[in-house]
Amino acid sequence: MSQPPTGSRFVLEGVVVRHDGGGGAPINALDGVALAIEPGEAVALVGPSGSGKTTLLSLLNGSTRPSAGRILVDGSDLTELSPRQLRLVRASIGTVHQDLALVPNLRVSQNVLSGRLGRLGFLASVRTMLWPSAEDLRSAHALLERVGIPEKLFERTDRLSGGERQRVAIARALHQQPAALLADEPVSSVDPARARDAVGLLRELSRERGLTLVVSLHNLDLARSFFPRLIGLRGGRVAFDAPPAEVDEAAFEALYELADG
């Protein structure tokens, strides 16, 4: 297996993302964010909804363009890349989306294998999706085994439970052979009892593969107990960036306080 030796390194410099608020003044989803995430690091993004967590993740995987500032992934500036180069960077970053974003009427194997499309040409993509090789299937089966649902390999995706679907989404991201794993609110698509398992699994997988892991979380307890570094976002700005021990209750509470005035 051609595992990259270390995970991706992300650097954000003065990043601003502006959305056109419906008819009114433009809203800054992110407002001057600067941070660096080192290879193999595990980071939790915490903050209330609307604080910019999802936007930050979509910047990291190259699907949102910053209105100002720079995003460097392993040293290359995403806004400067050609579409082809950008696709290569995207292919190296696996994302588990909040709504999972699987194709419900395809088989689980096809959804997992679709993770590799970024590395394949069009004809090879068609082949993988319609007539997967034994090697493809072995790899998909091994990944499903790792996330605990190997027997679902050829099941139709929409027949699975929410938790099982999340595992398919994780397997798809891993099949990309990424250098970094991003997960947007992985807790929201499973019931609370499974939430710990889901976050724990992401943490384990990225540790054993040496991936950089960035997870956005509502749940502060989970963030505290699984991640050595927490980044608090509030109103599109970094409120704190520190190990859990250095973040006290007051800092958390300040994150969720209503903005005044």
Binding site: S58, N61, G62, S63, T64, R65, L78, T79, L81, S82, P83, L86, R87, L88, V89, R90, A91, S92, I93, G94, T95, H97, D99, L100, A101, L102, V103, P104, N105, L106, Q110, S114, G115, L117, G118, R119, L120, G121, F122, S125, V126, M129, R172, A173, Q176
Partner: protein, 286 residues
């Protein structure tokens, strides 16, 4: 719409009122008097004779004497049904290709934004492609298949292929329009996910977007196949050897039993396709 005072009857009421008014205006313009609805004496006997035969469609030729070399009636009906199905199936296959290509080209989904706003090619080519294919689609489907047939008859003369093309053009335009709407309305989450994992626009379209629209597209195509059978049957009125041709001939020869045989044959074709698409939809496409 916002804070305007609502009309006393409401928008829906206005629409219904407009329909009623238009209907009321159409009746005198067309001279639709109840009197002209009653057939003349000759017409009345014809109606009677014709309707009576609904219960006893002909099983053998009604011509007397049967011209030499005519195949048996049921054989003729089957052959006509076969031609009808051939025309419909060939036309649909052509229309599907047209519909997929044009629907793909005119859907805005596949060239949706990329991270760099700089893809010059995509920026210029995509809108041009979209609008030219939309114009083409409108032209194709606003001319009825029978009129396409008339045009081809005048331009090229009669040939089974012209019948197939005449059906395929408007059907292709309609499929393209409906397909592009279905693709544009399909959920985009999986497409976004594939895009963010580096998949090319073509792969995103084929594996992220298309599968989500596919059940609706299949159901609609089956419905259009049913319509194509009807259109193919009607083309018989212009001399193509489908059900319509024999039906018209029998009717003009006053062989009403035969007319009903052909009508029931067409009915059976439609019902089979209807049942088939219904069964598929119930099982998979719900």
């Amino acid at each position: 719409m916002g804070d305007e005072r609502p009309l006393p009857i409401g928008a829906r009421g206005a629409v219904i009122l407009a329909i009623v008014a238009a209907g009321a205006a159409a009746v005198p313009w067309l001279g639709l008097t109840p009197g002209s609805l009653v057939p003349s004496d000759g017409g009345l006997t014809l109606v009677g004779e014709f309707l009576v035969r609904a219960a006893s469609p002909a099983l053998t030729s009604e011509a007397d004497p049967v011209p030499e070399g005519t195949p048996p009636l049921l054989w003729r009906a089957l052959a006509a049904a076969r031609t009808t199905v051939v025309f419909a199936a060939a036309a649909m296959s052509l229309a599907l290709v047209l519909g997929l290509v044009l629907g793909f080209a005119s859907s805005s989904a596949w060239w949706a934004d990329d991270l760099r706003g700089r893809g010059r090619l995509r920026r210029v080519v995509a809108p041009v492609l979209t609008w030219s294919s939309r114009t083409l689609m409108v032209l194709m489907r606003s001319v009825h298949e029978l009129l396409w047939a008339v045009l081809f008859l005048a331009a090229l003369g009669r040939s089974p292929t012209t019948a197939v093309i005449a059906i395929a053009i408007p059907y292709g335009g309609t499929l393209a329009k409906v397909f592009s709407e279905m693709i544009d309305e399909a959920p985009r989450d999986a497409a976004h996910a594939l895009r963010s994992s580096g998949a090319s626009p073509a792969a995103v379209f084929v594996f992220g977007l298309l599968p989500r629209a596919l059940p609706d597209m299949i159901a609609y195509s089956l419905y259009r196949f049913e319509c194509a059978l009807r259109s193919a049957a009607i083309l018989g009125f212009f001399g193509f050897p489908t059900l319509g041709y024999y039906l018209k001939l029998s009717f003009e020869n006053l062989h009403y039993g035969e007319v009903w045989t052909y009508l029931y044959t067409l009915f059976a074709l439609i019902v089979v396709v209807d049942w088939w698409s219904g069964a598929l939809r119930r099982r998979f496409l719900a």
